[in-house]
């Protein structure tokens, strides 16, 4: 029974901070969608079926702008290309012999944050663990969207601005301890950050979209890591 599995409970607990971090971000999404003329029910439906931040923000803005469907799908896809890598990494960390159906189910929950927590676990991750991990963030994402869509009044600007940093701060909390313990990890992070900075600020390169920038920076940094710092225990 899934709900009694200790792995599930452990996952639930690990998912609490992610769920709390999702609520303000989803709130902003609900607000954006409804103020652009999308019904609150559809805003919640988007969160329940997409469960992603950057992709659904961009997609919804394009829906509101009346952009053709093909372009909406393409833009959203490019933003989501990074999930290919995350899914690949998790596929190799999953307890062996996890069934196809279970794999297909947990795939739905691979967000940046859920991926990060699962990938940084010491042990192999089980189906139950990931189900537990994605449970609260999933409902937090939907709840935040509903609140933003229904309350539909802007939080005080200062509060809203301050909340914007929450998920990034969590990323920092996830990356720094590993970088402290391993020079290889630190080097990989430094390469990734340098490349993504180039894609943000360097002339010409700045034209590359955020979706491509993330995937190129990640690929290059991991390649460098695998070439220069191959791991012993594999």
């Amino acid at each position: 029974m899934l709900f009694r599995d200790p792995d599930f409970k452990y996952g639930l607990k690990k998912g609490i901070p992610i769920a709390l971090g999702y609520i303000p971000v989803a709130f902003t999404f609900g607000l954006l969608a409804v103020s652009g003329g999308i019904p609150p029910s559809i805003a919640v439906l988007i969160s329940l079926t997409n469960l992603t931040s950057a992709g659904q923000f961009a997609g919804t803005k394009l829906i509101i702008a009346g952009v053709p469907l093909f372009e909406i799908a393409l833009t959203t896809f490019v933003i989501n290309i990074r999930y290919l890598l995350m899914s690949f990494a998790l596929s190799q960390k999953l307890v062996p012999n996890t069934s196809l159906l279970k794999r297909a189910l947990i795939s739905f929950g691979i967000t940046d944050e859920i991926f990060a927590l699962a990938a940084l676990e010491k042990e192999d991750t089980s189906f139950s663990f990931i189900m537990g991990l994605l449970c609260l963030p999933y409902w937090g994402w939907a709840l935040g969207t509903a609140l933003g869509a229904v309350i539909c009044s802007v939080l005080p600007e200062l509060v809203q601005n301050a909340m914007g940093i929450a998920l990034y701060a969590m990323f920092i909390a996830l990356v720094v301890p590993g970088s402290k313990k391993s020079r290889a990890v630190l080097a990989v992070v430094a390469i990734a950050v340098t490349i993504s900075s180039l894609f943000t600020w360097a002339p010409w390169l700045e034209q590359v979209s955020a979706g491509w920038s993330t995937i190129i920076a990640t690929l290059a940094a991991c390649l460098a890591g695998a070439i220069f710092f191959p791991r012993e225990e594999v």
């Binding site: 909406i72 899914s87 200062l158 701060a169 990989v188 993504s196």
Partner: protein
């Protein structure tokens, strides 16, 4: 309305497909040391690339974002939990917006 629902369905598909393809395709463990090393670094590289420099633009002004980032870095260095780091960064941004 029909257009919106179609768009939502398409968005859901193009979000699910990249998440599901590798996960369902690579059912066997790959034994290549190169690939396993590569994948080990993926979370660190991806989070690093997504965080910086995007974090600098996450609060509406550079100064408060820098404050928040430094607070997060220091607390993360001392291995505080996710919530503590996030809440402290939010507080730092908030305070610097009020005070500066």
């Amino acid at each position: 309305m029909y257009r919106i629902l179609t768009a939502v369905l398409l968005m859901a598909l193009v979000t699910y497909i990249p998440r599901a393809l590798p996960m369902t395709f690579f059912k066997k463990r790959l034994t290549s040391r190169f690939i396993r090393s590569f994948l080990y670094y993926v979370p660190y590289a991806a989070l690093g690339a997504m965080t910086f420099p995007a974090i600098l633009y996450s609060t509406g002004d550079l100064t408060s974002a820098l404050f928040g980032m430094v607070v997060a870095l220091v607390l993360a260095f001392y291995e505080k939990g996710l919530l503590i780091v996030a809440l402290s960064a939010i507080a730092a941004v908030f305070l610097s917006q009020i005070l500066l």
